[in-house]
């Protein structure tokens, strides 16, 4: 077998591939949210990691205060955090419309620090466990590797959400508004489309995607206030590689970078945490607009 030739047992290779695919699924959903937000608001949403964390904490809160389990949280946590996003857009981000990108970046960065600091103060920096639903406990031995059901579900759920988002953007009237709004929001508004409302909803949707990733992550990584800040830098690298604002770029690059990271763990473990940034540097030199982005 190929794996024997390479000198690695198949369990190691496929195990890391699966891990890479799961990480890639998180990268894809998170970078998709960032792409949606950047596309319409032109804001680099540094609060995205904190909102992902908020999704995971909302999962815990729904269970603790309302007895709503994992499946309910998949719907309600993104909805609740999406509403938080709408409030943030209406109260804060809207005031930055038309000014330099840097202000949006600074505001969302500050917001992330405030959110994370508040949660550290309230819950401490250590993780809080959350069990996967009973239906997804255990796994299956595929012969060459053991596949935990929950991890398989994470990949499938992420792909469904990414496909649904792609369909929304590319095949619906709302998607046409969003694409047109990305290019020329003023003209779109002059055609009679309520662009301020569209922008608010786009931010809410992008934030809901982050929260959805947070719900998926809750049973895998323990829920802790800094879970987003650890991930967000890699996700930004993914967005840059895919091309800022590109929906397809975010999804394809997210999955690909997860797999590349996983494979690097097999062949050169020390480089696994930097390989994505190496790819980013190469892409920025050869194609500054990103693999799927359009040059300005």
């Amino acid at each position: 077998m190929l794996t024997d030739l390479l000198g690695f047992p198949p369990q190691v290779l496929f195990g890391q591939l699966l891990l890479g695919l799961i990480n890639g699924a998180f990268y894809a959903v998170l970078s998709l949210g960032l792409a949606v937000i950047f596309g319409l608001l032109n804001i680099v949403n540094f609060a995205h990691g904190a909102l992902y964390m908020l999704g995971a904490f909302a999962t815990l809160g729904l269970m603790k205060f309302f007895g709503i389990g994992y499946w309910g949280a998949l719907i309600f946590a993104p909805l609740l955090v999406g509403i938080v996003g709408i409030v943030i857009e209406r109260l804060l981000l809207r005031r930055l419309a038309g000014v330099d990108h840097l202000y949006g970046l600074l505001l969302t960065f500050g917001l992330a620090l405030v959110l994370e600091g508040t949660f550290v103060k309230l819950f401490g920096a250590s993780g809080i466990p959350y069990s996967p639903p009973a239906q997804l406990q255990g796994g299956i031995n595929l012969g060459f590797m053991f596949l935990p059901w929950y991890r398989g579900w994470v990949v499938v759920a992420s792909l469904i959400v990414c496909a649904a988002t792609w369909y929304l953007f590319e095949r619906t009237k709302i998607g046409a508004y969003l694409r047109a709004g990305t290019e020329n929001p003023r003209l779109l508004q002059a055609f009679g489309v309520n662009v301020p409302l569209l922008t608010t909803l786009a931010y809410g949707y992008g934030v809901a995607l982050a929260a959805f990733a947070g719900v998926l992550a809750a049973p895998i990584t323990q829920v802790n206030p800094l879970m987003g800040s650890n991930l967000i830098i890699v996700v930004f690298a993914v967005v840059v590689i895919g091309g800022m604002g590109s929906i397809v770029g975010a999804v394809v690059t997210g999955l690909a970078m997860g797999v590349i990271e996983g494979l690097t763990k097999v062949f050169w473990p020390e480089a696994s945490s930097t390989v994505i940034f190496l790819v980013m540097a190469i892409v920025l030199v050869l194609r500054p607009a990103g693999l799927f982005g359009k040059a300005a």
Binding site: A176, L187, Q189, A190, F191, G192
Partner: protein, 250 residues
Amino acid sequence: MSTLIENHDIGGQHVSEHIEELRIQDLHAFYGESHALHGIDLTVYQGELVTLLGRNGSGRTTTLRSIMGLVGHRTGSIMLKGEEVIHATPHSIAHLGVGYCPEERGIFSRLSVEENLMLPPRVAAGGMSVEELYEMFPNLAERRKSQGTRLSGGEQQMLAMARILRTGANILLLDEITEGLAPVIVDKLGEVLIELKTRGYTVVLVEQNFVFAAPLADRHFVMDHGKIVACIEQDELESKQHIFDEYLSV
């Protein structure tokens, strides 16, 4: 197109001088610190086609953008169909039945021709059907699946026009629709304007091509330095030629 066409042959006689579609009074517009319009007054009646003529920088495009609410700061009064819109948002202005065709055409590159055509929401009843529009602009039908910005300049202009005609808008603000286009396309656009006029549309046309605009319009507003300096009726074209010479010649 032929300049021999008489205005009354193309619907000018249908103009209702009793129904005001657009009344602008003492309109001032600003881009940041820059004062672009210095007190515009004009009235356009239902079914009229009027032009805004003038040199570059005279404020014609800013006047259209001000009507649509696309200028940073405006003062004065803009009444559209009897409704004051000086503080209204662009999307609510559009829903009064106003269609805007910008100077740069504004075709969205991320959308196909058909998506561009179907993009603006309906703002009033009575818009043209897609079939009617494809009949009016056959090139668009052939290229309906193409990316919007892959069309030629003339086709993009046709798409920009078709897009607002589908919405039911009956006040059309058209900015430099003939700019940079081949004569055959300019002729086609002239035919379209004649058709629109016979259908009773109210049109405000910003133009530099006086030969194109002269036979189509009921009245010409001549602009200079952010003001309207003259209003010339269709039957005064010859007697007031000196005004055109003074304000339009370069």
